[in-house]
Amino acid sequence: MKRKFLVVFLALSMLLSVLSGCAKEVEKPVEEPAAPAATEAPAVTEAPAATEVPAATEAPVEELALPEIVSIAIGADPADLAPFVGMSMGRIAVLKTIYEYLIETDSMGGAAVPMIAKSWEKTGDKVYKITIFDNVYDSAGNHITAADVAWSYNTAKELGNLRPLGDIVSISAVDDVTVNLEVKSNFGPGGLEKVLSECPIVSQKAYEASPDGFATKPITSGPYLLTEYVPGSSLTFERREDYWQTDPQYRTLFSQANVKKIVFKVITEAAQNAIALETGNVDIAAGVTQDDLARFMNNPAFTTFNFLDNLTQNLQFNGSEGHPLTNKELRQAIAYAIDTSAMCEAVAPGACTPAHTIGNPNFGGYLKKWESEPYYEYDLEKAKELFAASGHTPGELTFKLLAQNDARSGLMAQIIQAQLGELGIAVEISQVESAVYNQIQYDPTAYDLLLAMSAGGDFIFSPWQLVYDQNRYNGTTSNFFKDDELQSLLATVSSLEGFNEANVDAFQQYQKEQLYAYGMLSFNSIIVADSGVLKVVRDTRGQVIPGACEYAADFNK
Amino acid sequence: MSNNATSFLEVKDLVVEYTSEGSVIHAVNGVSFALERGKTFGLVGETGAGKTSIAKAILRILPDPPAKIRNGQILLDGIDLLTLEEKDMRKIRGRRVSMIFQDPMTALNPIMKVGKQIAEVIKLHNKISNKQAEAEAGKMLELVGIPAERFNEYPHQFSGGMKQRVIIAMALACNPELLLADEPTTALDVTIQAQVLEMINKLKRDLNTSMIMISHNLGVVAEICDDLAVIYAGEVVELGSKETIFDRAAHPYTVGLFSAVPTLDEEKERLVPIIGLPPDPSNLPAGCHFHPRCPWADEACERESIPLREIAPGHFCRCIKVSAQEN
């Protein structure tokens, strides 16, 4: 799956280079996940490496050649378009089309390219200097200066919804184009990128003039202007002629604006995605259901794009004191009893990949070699051996499996129930809505087995931290295990100095052996688009950026 | 009273059946009688004897799915009503023949003003304007003793007796030639009964209306009727003038009826009922329908169906035990 994607990607990249005559996109995170440390560390601390590799751009496309309009389905209403509020399913779908940031990272753990910031460098211990372009203007004509950058960051920090900003001690404007940034501790891998790409930059003047803090009518420096927002229904954007970045060298991938008008349509019913595509109501849809996909697979009117999702579906064991699952043999037995390949086939055939850790190749630092190492592939005999070795007998144990109440989780839970039944463990399934799930997953009495979906930041240690970081959860992992060795390995691998292949591998081997949590599979997102859409571009959250996609010459003319 | 062809109303061999869940109920079994203009004819009998069915059959307003007129002729001034088209029948209903129903409490539309309900029938049969019809209705109200100002009131604002008067007004509004009164005073208390009867009589005399009065109350019958027929199990068992029947009742059933009525001048400790119960209309006894309850019955009564015989001029009786002399 990954290989095919790679080939397609390379081919398209070459095609693009030939057409545009410009430099290619950064390929490092996809091609060489095995060596993140060597290339990433310098990229973080020495800005020039970043500025010398401008993002892939095309020669400015002539007005006439642009498609008129593209419609894309999104699954939820963004609701609040303001820049400094927390993320939601609907909001992340439109955020990158609305706002601009200091830098842009177009893949997870990937190198950063200039957007509003022209260059950035470390000038001292925990101190960074950022220089922005001097000609940044928003759609209302406000000049965005370093003061606006500092103001944006400070406002966001105060509101507290954007996590990475919590690491900032102070950020201030030195002059019109220079910003001084002080942080609590030196950044780990990708840490600076995270901070620089997290906060939307807006003009303080425009924000304060807005009656609702841009909740319904944002004014930004981006290439698209929001012209109509019907809450719950649609957002319409129009390409701006007066976009400030006129230098093609610096126009980022996400700022391409390859189409004159973008319409985001909220489609709340999954089955309607397919219908919307078929009736021509939308051109791109990411939420087509498994059953409907068949209609588009070999259909010349549509193209399907396959992307690996960031989430790893994993099974977490309850490690609270005295619990049967504190026994390692029992955990391993359960892992051997579960057939993740079969589960993939059953739940999302053709759109699913078994996992080898809590994480997948999307994350920076993931080592390809893990895929050829054993990771509890289905082996019922071995499972039974280990089960016996753990001192339990069939029929003795009953476990409660807690899961969220979506369809796929339900299917996976049932499969786990059936497969553990073979082992002689009875499983009771409890599916709850997300609000309840979020609450009780930290209650040691609420489950024995937890069906979780874990992602995280850009690097492989992020999902690991989310599950295993004992500093976060009152001295235990999120599933109640205490293990000093684990914690120390984790601390090492997530530090700037310690993030290298050897440490990453060390952590993997240890956590694989202890198996406090068992990574099962990752689903693919399949995006279906009108055949006139030649290439679908997604951001690091997996959201389609319509302005960056590429369209056939005769698409929607 | 005679059965000649010039009678105003002639009912001949009327048979009405009700079909209910497969079983057939013989409500009216070959009833015949005749009525002169301006006279009142009484139909006497117990509840369930078939009297109302006869009246409704004349107007052809029997509930159609269960009820069916199986046989007979109903000649109104020579025209057989049973062969008329529905649209022609509608011209007769309310205009030439109208009916007063038994229960005044439910016979009026509760959400329509009483005056309008009367005006409705007037407008139906006369080509006049709404205003004129309403004026006429007001007059009818006055006629039955209700102030015309009460035109706009609703039925629930009237007592039982007044409701019945409204119904009478409605029935007489178009000056019908024949009025069918189905136990009009049964649901009223005694004092009101007298008033209503009085009024019916007066109107009858003033407008020269012929009337069929259905009742199980012999006293009422005595007040109003000229001739009468006694109905039992859907058949006429005795027919004659009021005086004939009251003074010289012949059929055992009629005799039983009269014996059961208390009188002021006799001293009695107990009333004499007719033993037994009325027969099941879906399963009538063979031969004479009354024989199970008749003190004079024998096997002959069980065997054949009994014909109606004239035992004296104008006096008919359906009983083989009664000879052609006075009983």
Partner: protein
């Protein structure tokens, strides 16, 4: 009559108040932390705690209830939605017309199609008309409205391309949602009308009307139908209330941002202000509709009108 209306309007207040407190308490008691819902999965416990403090979630029950009610009573402020960051009232007023449109059209269809179906069934009792009408009604009641909706979309949008499958950009967009949503209502209406009519047709005053020489059609329109309407109006009133809240499924399928979706979204994200305010809104609408229904009764049935205005009409009874 005016006094009756006034009394009913005043009674609306305790009813709505009771509903509000009930919903507030339910939201207070159910598990699920709005602060956690609003922050990202990586939020630390301190951040969550800070958010809770900011949203005022740590205050005791009575204080929170008091603040909420106080806000409404003294400032007409229903609070801001945490998800939308907009005053709830603004969004409610935006969305209400859409839900209302669907509800009103559905009621209209109910009346225009359901009542005649019921009349046909009653008049032809056990005959062909009856069987066909009741067959249609059976479908309407048995088939779930989302299934009907999807079938309609597949047929009219995908196959024929006549109507749009979702959205709210124009009147055309409301046609399929209304048809799909109206089915159960039509069915209930037909059945109720039928049984109501059957009862009425057997009444004595219908026989009286026949004895007057009226044609069956005249009897139907002037005597039977007006009397049969009373229970039918109840159904319409109830149906309206149900429709207002019950369009959730239809709104979800057709991506119509109405009150139903708003409320459900609020429940899922534990946005207390959305939930409480939407419920108050719906409660007000519902009680108001019930009032209209009762007034309609009085208008049609003079006996009920007399009850309402009983202080004024005494005497006059013979």
């Amino acid at each position: 009559m005016g006094r009756y209306i006034l009394k009913r309007l005043i009674w609306m207040i305790p009813v709505v108040l009771g509903v509000t407190i009930l919903v507030f308490s339910i939201m207070y008691l159910i598990p699920g932390d709005p602060a956690k819902m609003m922050l990202s999965p990586e939020a630390t416990p301190e951040e969550i705690a800070a958010k809770r403090e900011e949203l005022g979630l740590n205050e005791p029950y009575l204080v929170r209830l008091g603040k909420f009610l106080g806000g409404i009573v003294f400032r007409f402020d229903f609070g801001d939605s945490w998800v939308y960051n907009q005053p709830v009232t603004k969004e409610l007023l935006n969305r209400f017309p859409r839900t209302l449109t669907i509800a009103v059209i559905c009621i209209g269809l109910q009346i225009i199609i359901g009542i005649p179906l019921g009349i046909i069934a009653a008049v032809n009792q056990n005959g062909l008309g009856d069987r066909i009408s009741m067959f249609i009604a059976l479908f309407g009641i048995s088939l779930p409205n989302f299934w009907i909706a999807l079938m309609l979309i597949l047929f009219f949008s995908v196959k024929l391309g006549w109507l749009p499958p979702f959205g709210i950009d124009g009147f055309k967009y409301y046609i399929l949602p209304c048809i799909a949503n109206a089915f159960p209502g039509i069915a209930t209406q037909a059945r109720q009308t039928r049984s109501s009519m059957l009862e009425v047709i057997r009444s004595d005053y219908i026989t009286t009307a026949r004895a007057k020489g009226m044609s069956e059609l005249q009897i139907l329109l002037k005597h039977a139908l007006p009397n049969a309407l009373l229970p039918v109006i109840t159904i319409i009133g109830n149906g309206m209330g149900m429709l207002l809240a019950g369009t959730v499924v239809i709104e979800s399928i057709f991506s119509i941002p109405g009150i139903g979706m708003y409320l459900v979204g609020g429940i899922n994200s534990r946005d207390y202000n959305i939930v409480q305010s939407s419920v108050i809104f719906l409660a007000l609408a519902f009680t108001f509709i019930m009032l209209l229904v009762d007034l309609a009764y009085a208008f049609i049935d003079p006996r009920i009108k007399a009850q309402f205005a009983r202080k004024h009409k005494r005497g006059h009874h013979a």
